[in-house]
Structures are given as structure tokens and as C-alpha cells.
Symmetry: C2
Subunit: 371 residues, 2 copies
Amino acid sequence: MAWLTATYHISAPPDRVEARARALALEQSVECPLEAIGDPRILAEIVAQVGDIRQLGPELFRVDIRLAVETLGSDSAQAINMLFGNASLWDDVEFVDVDVPESVLAAFAGPRHGIAGLRALTDAPERALTNVALKPQGLPIPALAEMARTFALAGVDIIKDDHGIVDQRYSPYAQRIPALQAAVAEASAETGRPSFYAPNVSGAPRDMHARTKLAREAGCRVVLVAPMLVGLPAFRELVDDFPDLVYLAHPSFGGATRIAAPLLYGKLLRLFGADAVIFVNYGGRFAWAPETCAAVAENLRAPWAQLAPAMPVPAGGMLLSRVDELLDFYGPDSMLLIGGNLLIARERLLERSREFVEAVAGHRFAPLGIA
Amino acid sequence: MAWLTATYHISAPPDRVEARARALALEQSVECPLEAIGDPRILAEIVAQVGDIRQLGPELFRVDIRLAVETLGSDSAQAINMLFGNASLWDDVEFVDVDVPESVLAAFAGPRHGIAGLRALTDAPERALTNVALKPQGLPIPALAEMARTFALAGVDIIKDDHGIVDQRYSPYAQRIPALQAAVAEASAETGRPSFYAPNVSGAPRDMHARTKLAREAGCRVVLVAPMLVGLPAFRELVDDFPDLVYLAHPSFGGATRIAAPLLYGKLLRLFGADAVIFVNYGGRFAWAPETCAAVAENLRAPWAQLAPAMPVPAGGMLLSRVDELLDFYGPDSMLLIGGNLLIARERLLERSREFVEAVAGHRFAPLGIA
């Protein structure tokens, strides 16, 4: 049995923190009520455990949660999911640290070059390094190349693209990268000092892969990637695919939670192709405001150019006893997702699931529902 | 010239909101001071423009920013980047809406099935749909299959994996999916009512692709994906690759900003393979606390099992005049990233860049620096 410790800050009054910590442990492991679990192995080996709780302020606590390493499986998306998937949706929780046992760390290669590799590349064994950005986007390639050349002549170590420059019409990637790489390499040869051009690699995974390959073939040794923008698992796959390159990570999209829910869940996910979108229901474990939930549902279904309407799927602590209320609220173009509240029936699961199915099928919509 | 309007909430006193709105427009387009821009086309056609500013509360405003469609290029990662890349790092800004012209929308296929497709699939033309989750993780495949069968016998429309179940040892994907799909299909044949098993598809992009393919070959018609976890561009690529499947989006990791900066930038990005990590410097455009910046840098460099140290790259409104202060703060194992503050030199770019290079190379570290 291997466990890792994830640490969170929980904002709660002292008499509530233990309950919140227990809820967090369930959320980040089995995601269902304990009474829904019959298998003693799962209770002993899979359910996360609450560790130390330390008070940091009048209503602020530092809470250790021990997660079963087994639940992380072998891939990086799942590691993030277990560390801060659903809990990221709780306003009172911040993920602050993780203590990973060496057996788990062994699966992560981490930086292939790191500080030592950057120092070797730039031939700068001791001093701090310099990094500049090619901007603004909109400049044509010759102007960017001239700027890159200037920076290299000045002896800057790493000359990176602005993270907003990707493959726009005014400086297409396939032409830009060889031109800028050549400009920097030539200037570097002139000065006798190593300078490196770091193109911004972005896009969907296969585009990123192709762009990275092109950069490497053009002679680039360093690339810029925004991991939160392209997705942490996609970033890691890229590093694994091209371990000879040096990766400079950009923080873009690192604060994504401050996208309003009706926009992120109601519009962006629909735009990106979701047919049905699970979101946090009001009055449940996550407790968004009813107006927020209504706005998400409305955005998913509203006419929007050629885009098909997508199905709202309210979820998160849904109760069978609330089916009528929720259907009146969301209307018939919705899909109700109930999890733990069915599973607590255990050996009566079939009957309780049938009640759910029948409650939905038999519902008569109130004439004044929002939908 | 095509523009799209992105809408943000800005928290600011009334006498500051216009300045914040202008800063936001620059941040989400050219990301440099206006005085660094010499090209009139860029000023007219690329720099984002401040539109309506409407007061919502004593210190809360709704601000429209017009973004040049050209800057979004053709890919989905870049669309997110321009809409809310860097601005996501500003505490006083929330991204609340986007009004995309139809010319841009035409590039997005959106849901391939949506509500109508789900209704056709489940043969439920009018009523609300039902959705349940297979939990808890840790159950062996036969137990999950029995649970799935029970739900299907009850007539549930969509029976999805818990989003925590991926490919763990206790229920490996390649065995689980055919078993659960068969259980649901058989029960559905018994009842004569369509029920569908929706496996959770996660992982790095190629793993996701392979898992989706396996699910489709097993007969699945619906899959569950957490777009924020796997990355929005990776999600879109998957939808484009398998347009015949119905996608149920899960909100996991949707609130990712509440990962403490020293953890996200200092540890997680290192763990995922970044050799150098750009993060927000104190006292600049983003203004994290100095202790936060120091903690990010320390985590990037601290001994950590077999993982190479990664290079801290403070950035964001860095000034040439602060080089000495910043080097004393971060120490020599750091890379300073300066952007606009060099570009404002325009035709003196070479000289100003040389000053930067020389300031870094010639710095004598104060004996009491934190590093």
C-alpha cells in the first residue's frame, strides 16, 4: 500500500473543518458516500484519508490528505485528476502542495535538461541568463527576424517568440521559424556567443508535434510552450516525444478558473465540440447559484450560428428526491446525472435506479419552468 | 478587418477602470507598451480596442474588449490564448463572455450530435434524460459490470464511468470497456430500451486517441472526457478525430487557478518536464507577492528525487532598471525575461539589449541574496 500526501488550504470555521476535510478525501478518491461502499478493500485501500489538520488563521486550515497511489494509475492526466480534479471546483479549497513518494516520482522524467542543460547550452556556467521576447504580434517575418538578429547581436541567451505569435497569416509558422532561427544563428556566429531562438509551439496535440518537429529540423534547441493552455498531459507527451529539446514553460491560461461558468461550461465547451456538458448543480456538493446553473443551461441550448445545441447535465450531489424540482428548473432538454445517491441503495440499486428512471419519464413539467 | 468582442468583469475603483481596460486590451493582443510599436498597421489592426465599459457595482465593471480576429489564427489553443491567456493571471479580471462573429464560428464544428443526437440515440424525443455514474473506483471489473447491467435494466439512458476510473490496475481499460459495454448492451436488449455505456477517456493525447478507438470498436457510442483536464485543444482534436461519437464533458480541473503558484509553477511544471518556467515577477504587471515568487524559484531548484532542477524565469513587466535588484533576489540560477521594456528603445534596441546583457553578466551578487 503506497500513499501520497496532497496538501490543501481549506477556508472553514473550526467546527466545520473536519467535515470539509473528510468530504475532500472522498471527493478526491471514491467520489461517493461511504455508505455506498460495500467492499472492505476499497474502504481500506482506495478511500483517501485525512491526515494532519493545522490551523493557519481564524478560518483557514492546512489539511493533509493521503491519496492511494493506486488510484493515480500510470498517466499524467489521471494524476492531476486525483490531486485536484473535482476539488478545484470548491471555492473554499486551494491545492497547495504535494509530497510524492519516490516510487511515483520514478515515473516522471521531469526536466530533461534543466538548469545544468541550459547553462551548458548557453555556455554560462555561473551567471544568470537573459531572455527576451519578440513582439508585437502582427509584425511581418522580416521585421521579427531583424529584431531577433538584434537581440542575438546584443548577446541575449534565449530569444523567444511572444506567446501570442503562433501561425497567423502575418507570420506563418513554417516560414517564420527557419527565418528567425537563421537570423539568430548567423548573429550568434558573428558574435561568437551562443544565442538561441525559442519558437512558441502551441495548438492541438498533432499540430504541436508537427510544429516542434519543424523547429527541431530548422535547428532550434529551445521551444516555448504554455502547458496550461495546451493541457498538461499534452505538454508531457511533447516533452517525451522530443526529449532533446529544452522546454521553456509559459504561464498563459494558468488562472483559468476565473472564466465565468456560463461562458466556460455553457459556451466554450460547446464551441469545442461537447455534445453534453456536466456541470455543478445548485444546492449540491458544489453549490453554484441557481442563476449560474440556469445560465449554463441556457447558453448550452441557445441558438448560436450553425452550432448544434448541447445537452445540459447538472450533477454533483444530486438527490433522487429532487428530480421533480430539478426537471422543473432545467426543463426537458436536460440530462440528470445522479451518482452516489443511487449507490447508497446497495442491494436495492435496481429498484432505486428504476425510481429515478420513472421519476424522470413520468414528470409533468410545471408550466412556469425556466426552460 | 474583423473583430470579436470579449467581455470581462474588472474589479477596480471608478477612476482606475479605464486604465485597467486599456492594459487588458494590450495584454490580450500585442503584450507590450504602445510606445514600443512603430508599425501603424499594428496600431490600427492588431492592438485590441476598449469598447463599452458599464458599471455593475461600486468597484465592479463590465468591459468589452474588441480583439482582432486575425490574431486568433486558425487553431483552438491560440483562440483561448487570445481570449484569456495572460489575463487569467490577473486577480481583478474575470472572463465572462465572448461574442464571436459568424466568420470565426464557421471554423468551429461544435457539438456533432448535441441534444438532437442524444435524443435520437436514446429514443427519447421529449422527456429529460437520465445519467448515472459507475463508482467507486477500486471495484473490480465484474462488480462494475454488474452495476452497469443493473442501471441498464432500470432503463437509465447513459451509464458513465466515474471520472476517476481510467486505467488502474484494479480495472484496466482494455478489459473494462468491452466487459461493461457488453453488460449494458445485453441488458438493453433484454429491456428493449436503449441504454449506453460511456467510458471515461483520459490521458495524454495519443493514449486518449487509442482509448477512444478501443471504445468505439467495442461498440460504445458515448464517451466521457474532462476537457480542462486533458486540455481544450486536445479535447477538440479528439472530437474532430471521432466525430461519430457523442461527447459528454466532465468539469474536472475546471477551477485550476486555485493551485498555489509555488506548487503549479514550481513543482508540477517541473514534474511534467519543463526545463525553465516563466512565472509572474513581483512588482510588475501581475504583481505576485515577493514570497510567492521566491517560493516558485526555490521549488524549481530544490533537490527532488531524480528530477533535474529547472530554471526560474521571472517575467511580466520587468524593467531593465531592476536587473540588479532582481538578480540579488533570485540569484544566479535564474533567467531574466524582459520584453516591452527593451522594445520601447525602438531604433536603439541593440544598445538597450546590450545594456541588459551586460547588466546581467556584470552583476555582483549581494552576499545576502535569497538564492
